[in-house]
């Protein structure tokens, strides 16, 4: 399994053709206390860089973009009852949705963990 990152602070962990998408720890720090997450339903087609989810903190409503194109297979149902998982476990239990990748070559344009860490350190 390999994890990739976007400049918009989403991550996608890829296992074969299945990707799991979430936002990074840096992102949750910027958002503040998350109180609601709107995740895409199974079957929805998302595109790389397109709006896929909305996360609401006390202070703001923010778009989350899909790092890759594909078809959503599973939204994270746990976020409905416990949106604060985005704050407490953004890169594990606080994942947003799973999808089937449409084009694995899109991953080449994303950052690996070391590159993302360097990117955030420079912000």
């Amino acid at each position: 399994m390999t994890r990739y990152f976007t400049k918009e602070h989403e991550w996608v962990e890829v296992d074969g053709t299945v990707g799991t998408v979430g936002v990074t720890d840096y992102a949750q720090g910027q958002l503040g206390d998350v109180v609601f997450v709107e995740v895409p339903a199974a079957g929805r087609v998302v595109t790389k860089g397109g709006e896929a989810a909305v996360v609401e903190s006390v202070k703001a409503a923010s778009d989350v973009y899909s790092p890759v194109s594909g078809t959503v297979t599973e939204p994270n149902a746990a976020l409905e009852a416990e949106p604060a998982l985005v704050n407490t476990a953004p890169e594990t239990d606080g994942w947003f949705f799973r999808l089937t990748l449409a084009d694995a070559s899109e991953l080449g344009a994303l950052m690996d963990e070391a590159a993302y860490k360097a990117f955030v350190a420079a912000l």
């Binding site: 918009e8 602070h9 989403e10 503040g32 206390d33 109180v35 006390v58 202070k59 973009y65």
Partner: protein
């Protein structure tokens, strides 16, 4: 992810994203302290201001259970000669002539149509009238008053701090002996750590608490002394907004605008009894007409079904038709659910009325409910100590 791409509410201000503070913003007297405390600073009303320290929910709950310290030095503090009371009444619907010494009155600067130009506090002090106005409107207010012939002094040499919460009195009394004797909407001169201070029992959170006006040069000493008390933590603009929303208190520029009059806003209490009879304030014919006949629309509180917050600008819908707009909305941390204020047609303003809110094309169920959403805890005159 783009933070705030949909909406970002900083104490009610909508920004397209989290803007970094630039050189254009004026620094508060406590700027160095805010940075030392790890605040995230944002531009607000022309100032670099702290939006949060530990986090909005934690700061909100701390204020509801202990004491939160807010820096509101961006607000305008004006002084007027005492004999300007009659002239000031020409600009607002409150009774200022009969205002007793040491008493605060909430009032509204109105335009010729009765529209609200600002909301403010007027206090009669021994030697003057003391006004506190909103930061974003203070320069326009100052121009309005001066144009009306009122020789105001703008005290930008003063800082303004608010200490709010059920333990505020316990934290402030040792530093400013005597403040515990004040009651809600009363103020007086006190010695605070050896320096003169004007302190009133008032605020914008729905909690008991105080507002403290001190020389800007002493603000850092006062703030550090208060923060040295384990009862007190710093609270930013984010929680100030969620606290006032739970308390049902309107925010100027959002819930109150020049297109809204005091009756529509549910602020008829700010029209003093004598002024209801005499009129003589800007737009009084229109405002008093609405007071008797009822306004076409009203500010209401909305309880939202589910957990999704609704934000300023969202449409209120009834039977497929737009019947109003949300003017403030968010998550109420002490309530654990979303709440909002909206203006709706008068026919739909009764408590218990069911409406829908359009959030990004999805309709959420909502119910008109009385405000405040969270009960106020003021220490009123006549109440047992």
């Amino acid at each position: 992810m783009t933070v705030g791409a949909r909406s970002a509410i900083i104490a009610g201000w909508t920004l397209s994203r989290w803007l970094p503070v630039s050189d254009a913003e004026i620094l508060l007297p406590l700027d160095a302290l805010h940075l030392e405390l790890g605040a995230r600073m944002v531009p607000f009303a022309g100032y670099a201001m702290p939006i949060q320290y530990d986090g909005i929910i934690a700061e909100h709950q701390w204020t509801r259970t202990s004491a939160g310290l807010f820096d509101v030095s961006h607000m305008g503090q004006f002084e007027l000669p005492s004999n300007c009371d009659r002239a000031l009444e020409g600009l607002l619907p409150g009774d200022i002539v009969d205002l007793r010494e040491g008493t605060l009155r909430y009032s509204l600067l109105l335009n010729a149509h009765g529209g609200i130009l600002d909301d403010l506090m007027v206090t009669r002090r021994t030697n003057d009238l003391y006004l506190v106005v909103n930061g974003a409107t203070k320069h326009a207010d100052s121009a309005l008053l001066r144009t009306a012939g009122l020789p105001l002094t703008y005290r930008d040499d003063l800082a303004l701090l608010a200490l709010q919460g059920p333990r505020a009195v316990d934290a402030l009394e040792p530093l400013a002996p005597g403040v515990a004797t004040l009651r809600f909407m009363r103020g007086g001169s006190f010695t605070l750590l050896g320096h003169p201070a004007w302190i009133s029992r008032s605020g914008y959170t729905g909690e008991d608490g105080f507002e403290i006006s001190v020389a800007a040069g002493h603000a850092d000493t006062v703030a550090r002394a208060l923060l040295a008390d384990p009862l007190v933590k710093p609270v930013g603009l984010g929680a100030r907004d969620s606290l006032r929303l739970e308390a049902g208190l309107p925010l100027y520029g959002h819930d109150l605008t020049p297109a809204i009059n005091p009756v529509e806003a549910g602020l008829a209490f700010a029209i003093s009894k004598r002024r209801k009879t005499e009129g003589g304030f800007p737009g009084s014919d229109l405002v008093l007409h609405d007071l008797i006949q009822g306004a076409a629309r009203r500010r209401v509180g909305l309880q939202i079904e589910g957990r999704q917050p609704v934000r300023e600008g969202a449409c209120v819908v009834d039977g497929g038709a737009v019947v109003g707009h949300v003017t403030s909305g968010g998550f109420g941390p002490a309530l654990g659910r979303p709440i909002a204020m909206a203006y709706v047609l008068a026919a739909l303003a009764a408590d218990g009325t069911r409406v829908e809110i359009d959030v990004r094309g999805r309709l959420l169920d909502a119910t008109v409910v009385p405000m405040p959403f969270f009960p106020k805890s003021y220490v009123r005159q006549g109440a047992r100590p």
